[in-house]
Amino acid sequence: MSAHEKREFEPKIVGFLCNWCSYAGADLAGVSRIQYPPNIRVIRVMCSGRIDPVFILEAFKNGADGVLVSGCHLPSDCHYLSGNFKALRRVTLLRRVIKEFGIEPERLRLEWISASEGDKFAAVVRDMVEQIKKLGPSPLKMKEGEE
């Protein structure tokens, strides 16, 4: 890479994955050596229903450019019967909320990824990175930077 080439913006993404499906899917991506950009940092929770909007807001507050929430497929894959529905409701709501804060709702993504969808996990991360690159750094971060 030549020195004068501008350093590309590398988004920081925090992923909240449920233990049983999505985290297992992310593991499968690894086992299958499916490569994806190193922009995501995963935090494991037992169930997507455990993901509190506070976690997501905290992530944005601390400079995340995107947040991925992922759980078991609807309707019946949830290890805890219905946690995924709860996640769905919360994330849908939260999307509206973050818009108020000036964060593009696209930065918060909800995906259903099963334990056998390593491919999908990688694809989602790839896609998210691409999309957020287009959006640029989180406006929350920019604001802080200006201060």
């Binding site: 299958s32 050596r33 499916i34 490569q35 491919d119």
Partner: protein
């Protein structure tokens, strides 16, 4: 038919020990490079030489028992055998590569051999790389061949051929030359095709059928290769056009 005015460009890799430092008489179109042993010639380097426009490549090593490094010359012979397969696949033909194991004490003047090879290349004509029409295809093929030649499994098998076919394998068995050759054949073929697919889909997503046509293979065989390439993280389904999935190469190291 017009005679080609340019004489063929020939690259000759020669074992440093063959001529014991004596001056050589070679035709002027010969570029001679000394290497410590002809076994030093990484197959990739030889393909690279063709990619750089050589019309012919000649390897000159010591007579079997003379090798300064026990059997570097025989390793080179094995590499050449494999390279000939790749060159055939790449459309350059196997005649452009030649290895001779030579002893100036026994075989006399090298000149004779050099001229002979030069003649052979004259007959074959200049490298198809210089043909504007064929060049893109041959370039792609050579790129694929180079990648195939640097593929882990191919190199492992090449590196261990002697051990496995002449000594014994991990089970104390010896694999027959024929079986090994067949295995190597399969792998050379597979790796070439896979890297060709990889090359072709680097810039432009392609379907199984398109690839099959480009490669002159049955679509089912191409699909099988693609399944294996996916397994190894070389390619992924890019998008679907109508009912046709298109594949695009993934970066591999």
């Amino acid at each position: 038919m017009e005679m080609e005015a340019e004489p063929p460009k020939i690259v000759c890799f020669m074992c440093n020990w063959v001529f014991c430092g004596e001056e050589l008489q070679v035709p002027y179109n010969f570029n001679v490079f000394r290497v410590p042993c002809i076994g030093r010639m990484d197959p990739v380097l030889i393909l690279e030489t063709f990619a750089n426009g050589a019309d012919g490549v000649m390897l000159v090593g010591c007579k079997p028992a003379d090798c300064h490094f026990v059997d570097g010359n025989l390793h080179a012979e094995r590499a050449v055998k494999m390279l000939k397969k790749l060159l055939n696949l790449a459309g350059l033909g196997h005649g452009r590569l030649k290895i001779i194991l030579f002893s100036p004490l026994e075989d006399g003047n090298f000149d004779k051999y050099a001229k002979e090879f030069s003649e052979e290349i004259w007959v074959l004509g200049s490298s198809p790389l210089k043909n504007a029409e064929l060049a893109p295809k041959i370039t792609a093929n050579l790129a694929a061949a180079k990648n195939a030649a640097s593929a882990f499994r191919l190199r492992v098998l090449l590196g261990r051929e002697e051990e496995l076919t002449e000594l014994e394998n991990a089970y104390g068995e010896r694999i027959s030359e024929k079986d090994y050759d067949a295995l190597l054949d399969d792998i050379v073929n597979a790796e070439f095709v896979r890297y060709k697919i990889h090359y072709l889909t680097r810039d432009k997503p392609l379907s199984v059928r398109q690839l099959a046509e480009m490669l002159g293979l049955k679509p089912s065989i191409v699909l099988r290769h693609i399944t294996n390439m996916r397994r190894k993280g070389m390619i992924s389904m890019y998008r679907v056009e109508g009912n046709t999935p298109l594949y695009k190469a993934l970066e591999v190291h």
